[in-house]
Amino acid sequence: MALDVWKNRGVPLDRQRFDWRDLVRTPFSKLDDDAFSRVRVILMNGIEAEASRFSHACARMNKPLQLQLARVRRVEQHQQTMVNWMLPPDQSPLETTIAYEQVAIEVTASIALHEPDPYMKQTYNFGLLEDFDHLYRYSALLDRLEGKDSNNILQSYTDIVPGRPTILHHRAPEDDLREPYDRKTAHPVTKLNALTIMAGEHQTHDYYMNVGPTFADPVARMLYAEIASVEEQHVTQYESIIDPYESWLEKWLLHEASEVYNYYSCMQQEKNARLKDIWTRFVDYELGHLHYVGDLMRVVEKRDPEELVPAEMPEPIGYESHRAYVREVLANEVGVRAIGTIYTEGAESEATIAYRERMNAQGSPSEIVAAGYVWAPGGELAHDGAASGGGGRPSVPSTERRAP
């Protein structure tokens, strides 16, 4: 039965409680759990990070809302902790980076597929091809620096090939802005999609900014610097598609709706019982937040929140491989560029070209790290015909067992 968010009030805010042991649980298994469990954990951390970011910005500009924001934000702080602490400690920052890009690719593809507004869909496809290329560059780094195969993390769901080359992602700020949806006419799913992607990209940016300097290797440090810069452009792009004239309370309400929607999507598809418990519990917590903010809206703005958020949530995000869709977008849209808020078939502004030339003046980290890189199962060293270090291929010993 579909969830009716206005009939189901979830768990009231004052009954949303945690303790430290409850917050810090046994993480999922890097080896045994499905890649999409990891994808959900990372995305939901991003959704909660955005809840916190929004809530603080709102509190700084709305004295009358500060107490209510603080109450909800305290719960969301702990929701984010419980979710993000499910990441396992044997997953290195670079492996986690691979997973972040898988989130960006598969979640963006699902959202693009479900997006009714063609301009928004084009925007998602535009960003998708860039994150797709980041995955290829980071895979080369993981293989060549740590001697690891990124497909151990991706589990064959996502292709590891170049997209729109990262060297071309660097645009002047004016070419990263897009037209926003219209708060009065946009379909509710358009609003939820935009918030979800903005949240995901913002946490990706912040993650790269935090882990980039933890690498010793200068090529890794440069690659994180370059891709973090592109993620900053993506945040600029995705926040600009959201109508800036929504009221603060309207934005808050939509944030809570997006949290209900995303936890509900996770809950429906999760196979790991421990994660499913978390998603289920947090659907109820988020319903509590949605009603809390809805009630505030009725009092403060004298508006009916049910006019902004439909009772029934849109089709859930598809946590599955979008290989065919990504390939189609890659084939048809890799040459798309942007001038201002308009997509072009390749034309770019002088400002973008000048900016890009300046940034790439001493070489491009993303080109350097992937020079000649072709992914192969087990890493490029396992590739047939790959350089064998001069020793040639060893003869394969027999695996016959000695008779007892």
């Binding site: 080896l31 499905d34 589990q155 292709d159 070489g363 080109e367 020079a371």
Partner: protein, 249 residues
């Protein structure tokens, strides 16, 4: 019984998804990568290496005696800091080593459902000896006029190299046998570290220190032999379930 190698739903290999794998491999085979090869990154690394500064310096002597000793050593054409750097490395290593043993001891005592792969009393004794070695080094650094709380460059390198070992032994999901494999890396390094330190003390004429260090080395050699035997025993017990770990340990 909790085994290290029970077969389960490990999803990391490509063999688990034959249909997706075929797609993935075909797509990769059509890759047009950026020109060049891995040597492109070497050029960047060389350029950073040319500009690089050091990890850090040796701390200055903190006592007059230390300053005097350093001056005398300089006159003799010897560099005391090279010795105290290595003393600092072992000191930090033994401190971390003590913590590693604490973690493995706690895990061993909790691991009711695992086969007994290491002797608790021996683990406890090795822990105590690591602690004594830490104290010995602290005293040695102080007597040489150094600051035992400072992180020397070699201590920093050793600490970075040990981070993975601490991650392994502090993870509640790892078994005692898995932790012993990590501990073996520590003991191998420790054994060679003490060998070097005893040799340095000897060469520089610190006879009493050299004797103490040789005593520590003998203890470390025993740690290494036992940890090696435990790792071998645990693995053989896993491979040949009829055989117990204690038989081979």
């Amino acid at each position: 019984m909790r085994f290290d190698t029970a077969t389960g739903m490990n999803r990391t290999g490509i063999g688990l998804s034959p249909i997706d794998a075929k797609e993935l491999i075909e797509a990769a085979s059509r890759t047009s990568p950026p020109p060049g090869g891995p040597e492109a990154a070497d050029v960047v690394r060389a350029s950073y290496a040319a500009d690089a500064e050091v990890l850090g310096s040796m701390p200055p002597p903190t006592t007059l005696r230390g300053a005097g000793a350093a001056a005398v050593e300089m006159l003799k054409g010897e560099r005391l800091p090279a010795f105290t750097d290595k003393l600092g490395e072992r000191l930090a290593f033994e401190r971390t080593g003590t913590r590693i043993y604490e973690a493995i001891l706690a895990k061993s005592m909790d691991a009711q459902d695992e086969p007994r792969v290491a002797d608790i009393d021996e683990l406890r004794r090795f822990h105590d000896q690591e602690r004594q070695h830490f104290d010995l080094l602290r005293e040695a650094v102080i007597k040489l006029g150094g600051d035992p709380t400072a992180v020397t460059p070699s201590a920093d390198v050793a600490a970075v190299a040990s981070t993975g070992i601490v991650q392994v032994v502090s993870d509640p999901r790892t078994t005692v046998a898995q932790c012993l494999s990590a501990l073996l890396i520590t003991e191998l390094a420790d054994h060679d570290g003490w060998t070097l330190l005893a040799r340095l003390a000897d060469d520089l004429g610190y006879d009493e220190l050299a004797a103490s260090f040789r005593q520590a080395l003998a203890e470390e050699a025993h740690h290494l032999a036992r940890v090696r035997a435990w790792v071998t025993g645990a693995t053989l017990a896993e491979a040949e379930p009829g055989r117990t770990a204690s038989e081979s340990g």
